[in-house]
């Protein structure tokens, strides 16, 4: 027992492996540094942070937990816990729809045979190359002109669905193209005989999708869920551009507003609050990552290999 242990240690201490350990750990710590800094800076009070000299490893002289409790209680002028709840609901909603649309569309493109299938799929994939920025203003106009909403007669008169919850709900049922692509790749690896057998047993299309194929798609579904959840959780654009009232804000939009206010000349950034919100965003993302990291590695492997 002891012998194998010492042999294992000896293997780790071979020059090549030792070098790998040093490089991976050393650079890894450098990569982690900004996040460590953020967490340590979270213990500072506002006055100490602005008045003392911040070193490479910031240790507060009078550490406080106020910045962390503020995440749950909010401050006088901003209701942080509401941003939290909004971000959370939005994340769950978008993740649900992303899973559903990618599974269904992935099945259609992998298994069904119909005219123009490949062409349609290529066109959809091709649109992924277009920078999303171009659609921001037209989307704004579209939301403002949404028929019969927010005081609009048909197209004009009111503010449409801008600054309402619809801004968040409306994107849900849209097709998730990258997800569909991944599910398609993954389903194509499963032998078609499985579908045939289920058909012979009298299973319909929905039963084949949800009871036969879905259980085999779990790794890729988890990957889609994580990437969608993280993307929505970190998305600042939608709330920032299409909403303005405080009750609709999410965490990233709040940070964006704070920091763009800080960017105006003469303003002193409210660093502790920005750090607090940043922590509030980062910690849940890290938790999601740690719980599901196995699937991220698998999912990235799947996305790559077929190219």
């Amino acid at each position: 027992m002891k012998d194998t242990l010492s042999r294992k240690v000896a293997v780790q201490l071979k020059p090549g492996n030792l070098f790998a350990h040093i490089v991976l750990l050393g650079i890894g710590l450098v990569l982690l540094y900004p996040l460590v800094f953020m967490i340590l800076a979270g213990f500072y009070t506002k006055t100490e942070f602005t008045s003392s000299i911040i070193g490479l490893i910031p240790i507060a002289k009078a550490p406080t937990l106020d910045n962390f409790t503020v995440l749950f209680s909010g401050t006088a002028d901003s209701s942080i816990q509401r941003y939290f709840v909004n971000s959370g609901y939005r994340t769950m909603y978008n993740t649900f729809w992303a899973l559903l649309t990618s599974l269904l569309a992935g099945y259609v493109f992998a298994r069904l045979r119909f005219k123009w299938k490949d062409q349609l799929f290529l066109i959809l994939l091709g649109t992924q190359m277009i920078p999303g920025t171009i659609a921001l203003i037209p989307t704004y106009l579209e939301f403002a002109r949404w028929p019969f909403a927010g005081g609009n007669d048909i197209f004009t008169g009111g503010k449409g669905i801008l600054d309402t919850w619809w801004v968040y709900f409306i994107g849900g049922p849209s097709l998730n193209i990258m997800g569909a692509f991944l599910v398609k790749q993954s389903i194509e690896k499963i032998p078609y005989e499985l579908d045939e057998a289920a058909k012979v047993d009298g299973a319909g299309t929905l039963r084949i999708i949800f009871q036969i194929l879905l259980p085999l798609q779990m790794p890729i579904m988890a990957f889609i869920a994580i990437t969608t959840a993280l993307a929505t959780w970190n998305d600042f654009a939608t709330p920032f551009f299409y909403t303005s009232s405080d009750k609709l804000q999410t965490l990233p939009a709040a940070i964006t507003r704070l920091s763009s206010a800080a960017a105006s000349p003469g303003a002193i950034p409210n660093w502790p609050l920005i750090i607090t919100l940043g922590l509030g965003m980062t910690i849940p993302a890290l938790l999601i990552f740690f719980f599901f990291q196995k699937y991220i590695v698998q999912g990235l492997a799947n996305t790559g290999i077929k190219g």
Binding site: G55, P138, E142, N234, M281, L300, I305
Partner: protein, 327 residues
């Protein structure tokens, strides 16, 4: 003759009668079953996608042919004037050029560093999983939040890096006044965020290379470098195509780090094209130029992808070079 007739008429009392009474609609449904199911599933999603992404994007391109400054103003059709301006105004063509080289630089550093890390992570190390996680963590953080942390580190008066420079007796640097440092930190931030993901994809590629090929190469007398050159690299070809294309498409469209870190300054010398589009659309309300620039960006990305894909699928010779036998 009689025999065949008997066979044909024999099972008439069975479901054959059913078939003959089937309506033409039902026949159509059976013959086009797949297409009908596909339509039923896809059409609501694609329709919704068209309303929310397809139409706004087309509309954005369409705006490129108009002069439309400020939403309250009425648009004026000006043919290709916006495109002509794009290639005459250094504000635009320089931003495009900057997007291309900055994207190339970020992709290059990220992929090379990620490849090195992947090779190390592929060694028989204790705690590889921990290293994988640590390296990937920056990718899951929010750009808005972490750029603010970088800004905090780079603060002129009380930023950590300037404090450090002061403590070792160097002059503090006003990062925001220098084009070089602006670009430098944008690249550092982008690599910081991307290197872990690149390493994981390379690692998946390394692990998918057929082990028996290494054994074969060893028998043929290949050393460590020979195995890398003639087995690993050709085996990574498909994954390399994938990762280079997706990373380039992503890196050429970088704009959030520019928006939150330098704001395009100083003097617009760190502006990249997508940031320029953002700025035209939301700060200057020059919707026409934003549309024209977007179309040019999309064309550049598309052409680049097609060329790279062609090149990488044609140059497949490297894998056919025979390994020299040790005599």
């Amino acid at each position: 003759m009689n025999d065949r007739k008997a066979v044909e008429t024999a099972p008439l009392h069975l479901p054959v009668t059913n078939v003959s009474t089937k309506s033409s609609l039902k026949k159509f449904a059976v013959r086009h079953k797949d297409a009908l199911i596909a339509t039923a599933i896809l059409s609501p999603m694609i329709l919704w996608w068209l309303v929310l992404s397809g139409f706004p994007t087309m509309f954005g391109f369409f705006l490129g042919f108009f002069e439309w400054i400020g939403i309250a103003d009425s648009p004026k059709f000006i043919w290709f004037d916006n495109y002509v301006r794009f290639f005459q105004d250094p504000l635009y063509y320089e931003a495009l050029w900057r997007s291309i080289w900055l994207g190339g630089l970020v992709t290059g550093i990220t992929l090379i560093a990620g490849f090195g890390a992947a090779i190390l992570m592929n060694m028989p190390l204790f705690g590889k999983g921990v290293y994988r996680s640590i390296w990937y963590i920056p990718a899951v953080t929010s750009t808005v939040a972490t750029t603010q942390i970088f800004n905090l580190l780079l603060d002129t008066n009380n930023g950590v890096i300037n404090n450090f420079l002061k403590s070792i007796g160097k002059e503090p640097i006003v990062w925001q006044y220098s084009v070089f440092w602006g670009v430098f930190w944008i690249v550092v931030y982008s690599v910081w965020k991307g290197v872990g993901g690149a390493a994981l994809i390379w690692l998946a590629g390394l692990q998918s290379v057929d082990v028996s090929l290494y054994e074969a190469a060893e028998i043929d007398g290949a050393g460590r470098w020979g195995k890398m050159r003639y087995v690993t690299l050709p085996g990574l070809k498909p994954i390399a195509t994938y990762i280079v294309i997706t990373s380039l498409i992503g890196a050429i469209q970088i704009y959030e780090q520019v928006l939150f870190m330098t704001g395009g300054g100083p003097y617009g010398k760190t502006e990249v094209l997508v940031f320029r589009i953002y700025r035209d659309a939301f700060w200057d309300f020059n919707l026409g130029m934003a549309g024209a620039s977007s179309l040019i960006m999309a064309v550049v990305v598309f052409v680049g992808t097609v060329f790279y894909y062609r090149w990488s699928t044609n140059s497949d010779r490297s894998s056919t070079i025979p390994i020299k036998r040790r005599s």
